[in-house]
Amino acid sequence: MSLLAVEGLTVRDQAGRALVDDVSFAVAAGDRAGLIGESGSGKSLTALAVTGLLPPGLSATGDIRLDGVDMIRAPEKQRTAARGPVAAIVFQEPLTALDPLMTAGRQIAGPLRRLHGLRGAALRSAIGEALAEVRLTDAERIARSYPHELSGGQRQRVAIAMALACRPRLLIADEPTTALDVTVQAEILDLLDRLVATRGTALLFITHDLPVAARVTRDTHVLRDGRIVESGPIADVIARPEHPYTRTLVDSARRFDAALERTGRD
């Protein structure tokens, strides 16, 4: 059985407009799926719907099973029980993903305390481990730092540490590298890639960036205006795009690469 199975998911706003329209996909345990699409295509809403945390005013229909729990219709209590231990999210903007008034250590401590019941020394060492895992040197100092004292890359590492601290089986990464410098972006992608691989965590990676998706995902789904227009293994999608929109994505990525090549040679 899939860890996450989404069947005919439709998200509507109060006016009844479909923001996500009849979206279906599945992520098996340990698998890596990508949702690719431009801003406004409904990818982030899909991620929120999966966790059953749509913003007020939006309603979802269809069927979402997260580890077998119906995330649309099940009572809040069951959904909460499914959410924490199974899934975690890393957000796009590391600035709003961390509470500005809380030290990095305390933020990571929150879920660990709640889900693993850790206290005192055990909690402190778990925080240290979590920070070490995301390759943050000087973990002691970082644990004591407020978000504004950290760089964007460090903040995103803290956010990843927070998401992975409780060993979720599914990590949802919502454009985790979009707000970062290109060099930092590459480091964070490597980090995610490695962590997910060593732990067998399933990954749902959301991005507008085809090369980024190619790097970390296996199966991919291209979203446009709330609909999935193309699905398949990322290599096939890039080699033989079928939908015109996917072709545009692939072409523009190619042109970008070609331009880089040319400038490099001159």
């Binding site: 945390l53 959410r83 957000f91 961390l98 809380m102 879920p111 709640r114």
Partner: protein
């Protein structure tokens, strides 16, 4: 600082006053100097004594109104912040109406029901403040609830009361506290106006507002009687505004210099 000086003076007034509040032995409308440091009013009461007693009332109003306004305002604002759809719209409209309702009119209504006293003044000012604080709190809560760290906490299964205590309240506190300190200054002014109109502290207790009223007729012949409470008011309100600034710097780790 200014607040501390005034609060200090008020504290002293509980142990020592230059004259008894109802001692009229000094002659009327004496200029400042001599036995009576600030002179006397038209009934011959010592102005400094009156000023200190008025200070008690000013500070009591500020504290009382902030307590009423803060507790009611933040609680209601929190609830309204969590409301969605029509309930949210309803809360916003109710708050706007309450804010549009003049404090003076509210005070008059309460006074009409219970008679003028310091308590009714504090209640009226506190209720008016509650509406403003609630509106502010509601907006701030909505802002914070939209942040990703709240979503992250919810995914981790952290309960709402816990999220409110650990994320929401600390994040809205700096702004709310600064606002409360500003409101404290406004409360002092509001109490002075109510007393000036005879809706606040009843005689014989001295309030700065009523001192101003009583000095009004003789302001040209004995300016000290009007100047003293007037300056005291200005000093206290400025002091409270400065306190608000100081609080803001303290409450925000981004500004705190370690």
């Amino acid at each position: 600082m200014l607040v501390a000086i005034i609060a200090g003076g008020v504290l002293v007034s509980y142990f020592w006053l230059p004259f008894a509040p109802d001692d009229t032995s000094g002659g009327r409308l004496m200029p400042p100097g001599g036995d009576h440091l600030l002179g006397t009013d038209k009934l011959g009461r010592d102005l400094l004594t009156q000023l200190l007693i008025g200070g008690r009332i000013a500070l009591a109003t500020a504290l009382g109104a902030v307590a009423v306004g803060g507790i009611l305002g933040v609680s209601f604002g929190l609830l309204a912040g969590f409301a969605t759809r029509w309930l949210d719209d309803a809360a916003a409209v109710v708050l706007d109406i309450l804010i549009a309702f003049p404090t003076l009119l509210l005070a008059m209504l309460i006074v009409a029901g219970t008679g003028a006293s310091l308590g009714t003044a504090i209640l009226a000012i506190g209720l008016a403040m509650a509406a403003i604080v609630a509106r502010l709190t509601r907006v701030l809560v909505k802002q914070v609830l939209g942040r990703d760290y709240i979503t992250a906490a919810r995914i981790a299964g952290i309960s709402w009361p816990r999220i409110v205590a650990s994320h929401v309240l600390p994040n809205i506190a700096p702004v709310v506290l600064v606002n409360l300190a500003l409101q404290a200054g406004l409360a002092v002014l509001a109490e002075a106006s109510l007393s000036y109109l005879g809706l606040g502290t009843p005689p014989p207790n001295a309030s700065w507002g009523r001192m101003l009223y009583e000095a009004q007729a003789t302001v040209l012949t004995a300016p000290a009687a009007a100047l003293a409470p007037g300056l005291a008011l200005v000093a206290l309100v400025i002091g409270m505004n400065l306190t608000a600034d100081g609080l803001r710097d303290l409450a925000d780790p981004r500004r705190a210099n370690r």
